[in-house]
C-alpha cells in the first residue's frame, strides 16, 4: 500500500506500512557495514601497492639472500622468504600491479565483449540476434578455464594473452546478463511512456535503455575483477601466464609449488592474498548492487 499525502503539502503522514514515504533526507543515511569498510581498506592497500609498491615493500623484491632462504614468516620477513631468500611480502606487493592489471583488463575485455554481444542479441534483427544467441550459448557450454587454456595454446603465454583468454572466457555469462537487462528495460513502462511522447527510437535507446541496462553492470564489474584475478592466477599457476621471474601472484603460486612440503607459506600466502582481494572486490560489488537496487545512487 502506498501512503498518500495531500499532494500540495510537503509533509508526509505516517504510512500504513512505512515503506514508500520515508522523506529523502533519511533515505540518504546509509549504514556503512564493517565488512564493506574492511573491503574498502583492503582495496585501498592493494591500489597503493599497485601504484607505488616501493612505499609498502620492506625489501627489494628481487634481492637474493641465499643465507636466509626458505625462512618461515617472521619479524624480518612477514610472509617468509623463498628458495633464493627473496622476501615474499615484498614480492606480493610488487606483484600487485601486474595481478590487478590482468584482473581489471580481463574484466574490461569481458564486459566490453558482453556489452557488444548482449546488445546485439537483444536489439539486432532476428538473424543477427539469433546467431549471436547461438554463439553465446556455444561459448557458454565450454568451461571458462578450458576455453582460456585453448586461447593460451593458440596465442602463447603472456600477460596480454591472459587478459584476452580470461576476458573472452567469462564474457558469455555477462553477455546473457546484459541481454536480459536490455530486454527488461525495453519492455518497461518508461520506455513505453517515452514512445508515447513521440521520442525517436535512437533517443530512447540512448536515454533510457542503455543507461538502465548498464547501471547494474557497475556492480557486476567489481565482481568480475575479483573473479578474473582468480582465473588469471589459475592460468599462471598452470605455467600458462606470466613467466616466473615476475612476482604476479599466480606465478608466485606456481613457483612455490615445488616447495609445498618444506615451505607451505610460499603457496598458502599468495593464495590467501588472491582470496582476500577477490573477496574484497566481491563485497564491494554486492554493496553497490544492493544500493542500486534499493534506488539509492
Amino acid at each position: 500500500m502506498t501512503a498518500i499525502a495531500p499532494s500540495t503539502t510537503p509533509q508526509v503522514p505516517p504510512s500504513d506500512t512505512a515503506t514508500s514515504t520515508t522523506p529523502p533526507r533519511t533515505r540518504r543515511v546509509t549504514r556503512l557495514r564493517w565488512s564493506v569498510a574492511l573491503a574498502v581498506g583492503v582495496l585501498a592497500f592493494f591500489a597503493l601497492a599497485a601504484i607505488a609498491p616501493g612505499l609498502l615493500a620492506t625489501h627489494a623484491p628481487t634481492a637474493l639472500d641465499l643465507t636466509s632462504s626458505l625462512r618461515p614468516p617472521g619479524v624480518d620477513h612477514w610472509f617468509g622468504t623463498d628458495e633464493s631468500g627473496r622476501d615474499l611480502y615484498s614480492r606480493v606487493v610488487f606483484g600487485t600491479r601486474e595481478s590487478l592489471s590482468i584482473g581489471l583488463g580481463a574484466a574490461a575485455v569481458s564486459l566490453g565483449l558482453a556489452l557488444v554481444l548482449g546488445s546485439l542479441a537483444a536489439l539486432a534483427g532476428r538473424f543477427v540476434s539469433g546467431s549471436v544467441n547461438r554463439l553465446v550459448e556455444i561459448l557458454f557450454a565450454f568451461p571458462t578455464l578450458l576455453f582460456a587454456l585453448l586461447l593460451v595454446a593458440i596465442l602463447g603465454p603472456s600477460a596480454t594473452t591472459q587478459i584476452i583468454a580470461v576476458g573472452v572466457g567469462s564474457a558469455p555469462g555477462y553477455a546473457r546478463i546484459v541481454r536480459g537487462q536490455i530486454l527488461a528495460a525495453r519492455q518497461s513502462g518508461y520506455v513505453e511512456a517515452a514512445t508515447a511522447l513521440g521520442h525517436p527510437r535512437g533517443l530512447i535507446l540512448r536515454q533510457h535503455i542503455i543507461p538502465n541496462a548498464v547501471r547494474p553492470l557497475v556492480a557486476i564489474f567489481t565482481l568480475c575483477v575479483g573473479q578474473s584475478i582468480v582465473w588469471a592466477s589459475s592460468l599462471s599457476f598452470l605455467g600458462l601466464g606470466v613467466a616466473p621471474p615476475s612476482s604476479e601472484w599466480g606465478a608466485l603460486l606456481d613457483a612455490g609449488r615445488s616447495y609445498v612440503t618444506h615451505a607451505p607459506w610460499l603457496i598458502v600466502i599468495p593464495g590467501l592474498v588472491i582470496v582476500v582481494l577477490a573477496l574484497a572486490a566481491t563485497t564491494i560489488g554486492k554493496d553497490i548492487q544492493a544500493r542500486l537496487e534499493s534506488g539509492d545512487e
Binding site: A3, S15, L197, H208
Partner: protein
C-alpha cells in the same frame, strides 16, 4: 435518503446481545525510528460481538492497516503496542509472545489480506495451502484434512472445489483466489476475522461476490473487522464504523448513522469523495483545485481541428496463448471521441479495454481495423511517420512509478516531455515545467525529488503534468485513479475535470470502476470479453441499461455511488 443497503442488524437489541469476542480499549501503536518513537495509532477503542462487523475506514496512512495487523499480532519489528484492554474471547492479548500469537492466529482470529496473489504461496496448490493451516494446528489426519479443505472451498463458493484445490494461485481468477484466501482464514473456524482491504484489487462483480461471502460469514456468527478506504464497500457489511484519520478515531458510530448523518467533517469529506452519478458536474473534494492562468496552446492546424479527434473503426486484436490457441482480446470495436468530451470505457479485467486504449495510442498494432487521429491516418502509419502526431495524444497509466525512468527526478521527467522544437531555449523549457507543476497543483519543491519519494497522488500529478507537456488534444487515462484511495482519487478526479474545462481536453477514460465512470464520462462503452456490449450517454447507461451485463455491473454498485446520502 436511501438506507436499504445498510445493515439492519445494527439495531440489535442490547439485551439479546451475542457474546463479545474482542475488546479493545485505548490501543496505541508506535514504531521506533531513528531513536525516537513515532506513534501511528492513538487510542483505538471498540468492542466486537459475534455476528457483528466493525469497519475501520480511513485513507492510506491513517493507521488502519497497522491497527488490523496489531489485532493479529503482526504489527512488525520495532513496534510498541500498548492498550488499556486488549482481549480476545476474554484472553488478554497484551504481552503475547510470537509463540502465543501462532497458537491464536488462524484458530481464534483469521486474517484476510488485500492481495491473494501475493499472500498465497505461488508454488503450492491452494488446497495444500489451506490444508497447511489445519496441519499446523494439529487438525485431524491427512484424509479428514483433505475432506475439510474441499468443504471449506465449497462453503466459500468455489465451484468444482476438488479440481480447484489442485490448482496454483496463478491458475485461478482474482475472485477465486480471494475466496481461497478467505477459506484459509476460516479454516480453523476462528471467531474473529480481520479483513484488510479484502476487495480492493477486484472487479466490481467479483467484489460484490466477495462481499456477499463475507456477509454470509457474518451471518454464521463470525465477528468481522473490515479495513477499507472505500465507504461504499464498508456500507454493505459494517454494523459499526470507525473513521480513522492520522491515527486518531475521529468518528465512531452505527454504520447507518455514520453514513447518513456523519458528524465529523472528515467523514463528510470521505462520503462526498465517493464518485457516482449524483456527483456529476461537481467537485468531489472540499478543496477547489487551484485555478491557474492557462498558458495558450501554440496555434497549429491540429489545435483548430473540429471533427472527431479519434475515430476507431472495427478494431481487432488477437493474442496467441503459449498453448497455441488464439484469444481475441478486442473484437470489432468502434468508437469516436469528440473535442472536449470524455468517453468512458468500462469493463472488468480481461475485457479488452486496456488493449483498446493501447491501440488508440498506437502502442499496440491492431490485427484489424484502424484509428484516425484528428482526421488523419494514425494507426495505419509506420511509427516514424506517426511521431509528428504523437504530441496530440498522451497517456496516464495506473501505476505512474513504472512509467518514470528510475534514474530521473521530476525536473528531468517533465523537461524530457517538452519538445525542444517547441521551446528551443532551456530557460523556456524550465518555465514550462513550472507552469505544468502549477497546473497540476504541485509545488516546485518536488522538482529535485525522485518519484520514488513522492506519494501516490503526487506521482499521478507528475504523470498528468508530463501528459500535458506537449499540449495534447486527447489524453488516454488508463485506470489512472484506480490505485488511489478515495480521498486521493477525489482530488485527482477534480483535477482532471478542472483541467478538461480549462484546456478543452478530450479524455478516453478507461476504468473498471463504474462510480468513477458515471462521475465524469459523457458517453460510455461497456466492454465484455473484447466486445462492446452496450454504448450510450452516461444517462442512458446508468438510468436505462439495456444489456444484462450492464445491469449486472450497475447492480453491483452501492447506493452510495448513485444516491446522495448526505450533502457535504
Amino acid at each position: 435518503m436511501t438506507t436499504t443497503a445498510l445493515n439492519p442488524a445494527a439495531q440489535t437489541d442490547e439485551a439479546s446481545r451475542p457474546p463479545t469476542r474482542l475488546r479493545v480499549t485505548n490501543l496505541r501503536v508506535g514504531f521506533a525510528k531513528g531513536g525516537h518513537e513515532r506513534r501511528v495509532v492513538h487510542g483505538l477503542s471498540f468492542e466486537l460481538a459475534a455476528g457483528e462487523c466493525v469497519a475501520i475506514v480511513g485513507e492510506s496512512g491513517s493507521g488502519k492497516s497497522v491497527s488490523a495487523r496489531t489485532l493479529v499480532g503482526l504489527t512488525g519489528a520495532g513496534a510498541t503496542v500498548e492498550a488499556d484492554e486488549l482481549s480476545l474471547d476474554d484472553e488478554d492479548l497484551r504481552g503475547f509472545t510470537d509463540r502465543d500469537w501462532r497458537r491464536v492466529r488462524g484458530s481464534k482470529v483469521g486474517f484476510v489480506l488485500q492481495d491473494a496473489l501475493v499472500s498465497l504461496d505461488p508454488l503450492r496448490p491452494v488446497g495444500k495451502e489451506i490444508g497447511e493451516a489445519l496441519r499446523l494446528h494439529g487438525w485431524g489426519d491427512r484424509a479428514s484434512r483433505r475432506a475439510k479443505v474441499l468443504e471449506l472451498l465449497d462453503s466459500v463458493g468455489v465451484p468444482s472445489a476438488a479440481n480447484r484445490a489442485r490448482q496454483r494461485p496463478d491458475e485461478l481468477s482474482g475472485g477465486l483466489r480471494q475466496r481461497a484466501l478467505i477459506a484459509s482464514a476460516l479454516a480453523l473456524d476462528p471467531g474473529v476475522v480481520v479483513a484488510d482491504e479484502p476487495t480492493t484489487a477486484l472487479d466490481v462483480t467479483v467484489q460484490a461476490q466477495v462481499l456477499d461471502l463475507l456477509e454470509e460469514t457474518k451471518r454464521r456468527g463470525k465477528a468481522i473487522i473490515l479495513i477499507s478506504h472505500d465507504l461504499s464497500v464498508v456500507a454493505r457489511l459494517a454494523d459499526r464504523i470507525l473513521v480513522m484519520q492520522g491515527g486518531h478515531i475521529v468518528e465512531d458510530g452505527p454504520a447507518q448513522q455514520v453514513l447518513t448523518a456523519p458528524r465529523h467533517e472528515y467523514t463528510r469529506s470521505l462520503i462526498a469523495a465517493v464518485p457516482g452519478t449524483h456527483t456529476r458536474g461537481r467537485l468531489l473534494g472540499s478543496q477547489v483545485p487551484p485555478v491557474v492562468s492557462v498558458p495558450p496552446r501554440p496555434a497549429t492546424p491540429e489545435a483548430e481541428y473540429a471533427g472527431p479527434l479519434l475515430e476507431a473503426t472495427d478494431l481487432v486484436k488477437r493474442f496467441r496463448s503459449p498453448d497455441g490457441s488464439v484469444h481475441t482480446a478486442v473484437d470489432q470495436v468502434s468508437f469516436t471521441l469528440e473535442r472536449g468530451e470524455t468517453l468512458g470505457v468500462v469493463g472488468e479485467s480481461g475485457s479488452g479495454k486496456s488493449t483498446t486504449a493501447r491501440i488508440a495510442l498506437a502502442l499496440t498494432e491492431a490485427d484489424g481495423g484502424s484509428v484516425r487521429l484528428l482526421g488523419q491516418e494514425w494507426t495505419s502509419l509506420p511509427e516514424r511517420r506517426r511521431r509528428r502526431l504523437r504530441r496530440e495524444i498522451s497517456v496516464v497509466y495506473q501505476d505512474p512509478l513504472s512509467s518514470f525512468d528510475p534514474r530521473w527526478d521530476v525536473q528531468r521527467i517533465l523537461e524530457d516531455a517538452i519538445s525542444s522544437t517547441d521551446l528551443p531555449s532551456r530557460a523556456a523549457r524550465r518555465e514550462r515545467v513550472a507552469e505544468l507543476l502549477a497546473l497540476v497543483g504541485l509545488t516546485p519543491a518536488v522538482l529535485g525529488r525522485s518519484p520514488l519519494t513522492l506519494s501516490g497522488g503526487q506521482r499521478q500529478r507528475v504523470a498528468i503534468a508530463r501528459a500535458l507537456a506537449p499540449w495534447p488534444s486527447v489524453v488516454v487515462l488508463d485506470e489512472a485513479v484506480s490505485s488511489l484511495d478515495v480521498s486521493m482519487q477525489a482530488q485527482i478526479l477534480d483535477l482532471l475535470v478542472t483541467l478538461q474545462a480549462e484546456l478543452g481536453l478530450s479524455y478516453l477514460f478507461i476504468s473498471h470502476d463504474l462510480g468513477v465512470i458515471s462521475h465524469l464520462a459523457d458517453r460510455v462503452l461497456v466492454m465484455k470479453d473484447g466486445v462492446v456490449v452496450e454504448r450510450g450517454t452516461v444517462d442512458d447507461i446508468f438510468a436505462r441499461p439495456q444489456h444484462d451485463y450492464t445491469r449486472e455491473l450497475i447492480g453491483a454498485l452501492h447506493p452510495l455511488n448513485t444516491t446522495p446520502t448526505t450533502e457535504g
